[in-house]
């Protein structure tokens, strides 16, 4: 059972770390001061979630300490989905990604408040409020831009079309899926995906956006099995640059 748990925690933590790093790239260049602050602050929240999950891996499941897990692993050891690795692009893409990713996060953490694995259930209860705000933020911008000008709507729609099959990669199952469900650790990716779609489709409609048709063969899987896009390696190189200059330095 501990391998199943580790797998779940690694993929959640790696998703949070990588999207947190990506979103932090907007710091200083956000579209307006208020939004620069908000987006940076939410990026920090994500890195905090990653840290908390790595801490459970370390303290409860005997893995290395959080700093080692975050900064001293190779690309092939990461279990994040390829969606979070994508560059920030233009703001429309970053907002669409936040919308798709954080709706899934909110439902996932909400489900995990009922997990039989207590450390995770407690963490889920603690951070749910933060993710709720991330979702509120994304919804506000998606509705605003979708109902804004012809240009803002078109940009949002094309980002949504581009992001769609990437975002479905969030729900890629591991070989431990059935074990996680039968042990009541997690309700499962299929159920999560179902609830996610029920949640986001009405909002996309309010935002005047067309929900892209799903082509199963185009869903971008692989991340959960450590097959990553060409974007992860450069991200890790940048993120770990300082640590790697002196790998044994005390901080």
């Amino acid at each position: 059972m501990s391998n199943a748990l580790k797998n779940l925690l690694y993929k959640m933590a790696d998703d949070a770390l990588i999207i947190g790093h990506r979103n932090s790239e907007w710091t200083g260049i956000g579209p307006m001061l208020e939004e620069d602050l908000a987006f940076s602050s939410m990026a920090q929240d994500k890195i905090g979630h990653a840290q908390a999950l790595y801490k459970i891996l370390n303290e409860v499941l005997g893995e290395a300490d959080p700093d080692t897990l975050a900064f001293k692993r190779e690309e092939k050891q990461f279990k994040c989905c390829q969606f979070v690795e994508q560059p920030i692009g233009e703001y429309d893409f970053s907002i669409v990604r936040q919308f798709l990713f954080d709706h899934a996060e909110l439902i996932r953490y909400d489900m995990l408040t009922q997990s039989s694995f207590q450390p995770l259930a407690q963490l889920a209860k603690k951070v749910k409020g933060e993710i709720k705000y991330h979702v509120m933020h994304a919804d506000t911008f998606v509705k605003q831009l979708g109902n804004g000008t012809e240009e803002s709507r078109a940009r949002l729609q094309s980002s949504l079309n581009y992001a769609w099959h990437l975002s479905l990669g969030i729900f890629e199952k591991s070989e431990f899926e059935n074990e996680l469900i039968s042990e009541n650790i997690f309700v499962g990716e299929d159920e999560l995906k179902k609830r996610w779609q029920e949640k986001i489709i009405p909002i996309l409609e309010v935002a005047n956006l067309k929900v892209p048709a799903t082509d199963e063969s185009k869903i971008v899987y692989g991340g959960r099995k450590a097959f990553h896009s060409e974007f992860l390696k450069p991200l890790l190189d940048e993120m770990c640059e300082v640590v790697r200059t002196d790998i044994d330095a005390e901080w």
């Binding site: 602050l37 705000y133 506000t140 911008f141 605003q144 109902n147 804004g148 309010v206």
Partner: protein
């Protein structure tokens, strides 16, 4: 935005069917911060936003990301009514009217005693 108190509109996480009529240009909202339930809300500053929902979302990080926050209010700046700055003289003599300050009576006797001593 339903609420028990019909005077206040509350932001809901549920997607609303109607989209707030928005402005194509950003306008400003005054932000009020409440530290604890039951405490006064205090004016803390301004955010730019295109609608009230976005103003609350922005205010949360700009003014609520440090220390304790229970709630925030936002009010469209153009909905604030105020006196003209030329009329500030209306308030000029108010600080002299200490008899309106309840604390004044509590210490008046002591102050007068002290002052009379000083004169001697």
């Amino acid at each position: 935005m339903n609420t028990l108190d019909p005077r206040i509109k509350r932001l809901s996480l549920e997607p609303s069917a109607e989209v707030e009529k928005t402005n194509s240009h950003l306008i400003t909202y005054e932000v009020f911060h409440q530290e604890k339930r039951g405490k006064h809300v205090t004016h803390v500053g301004v955010v730019h936003a295109s609608n009230p929902e976005m103003a609350l979302v922005m205010a949360k990080e700009v003014f609520g990301r440090r220390g304790k926050t229970t709630n925030l209010w936002v009010v469209k700046t153009s909905d604030v009514y105020t006196f003209g700055s030329d009329d500030e003289d209306m308030f000029e003599t108010t600080p002299e009217k200490t008899f309106r300050d309840p604390a004044y009576y509590k210490v008046r006797d002591k102050i007068e005693k002290f002052q009379s001593k000083q004169k001697v």
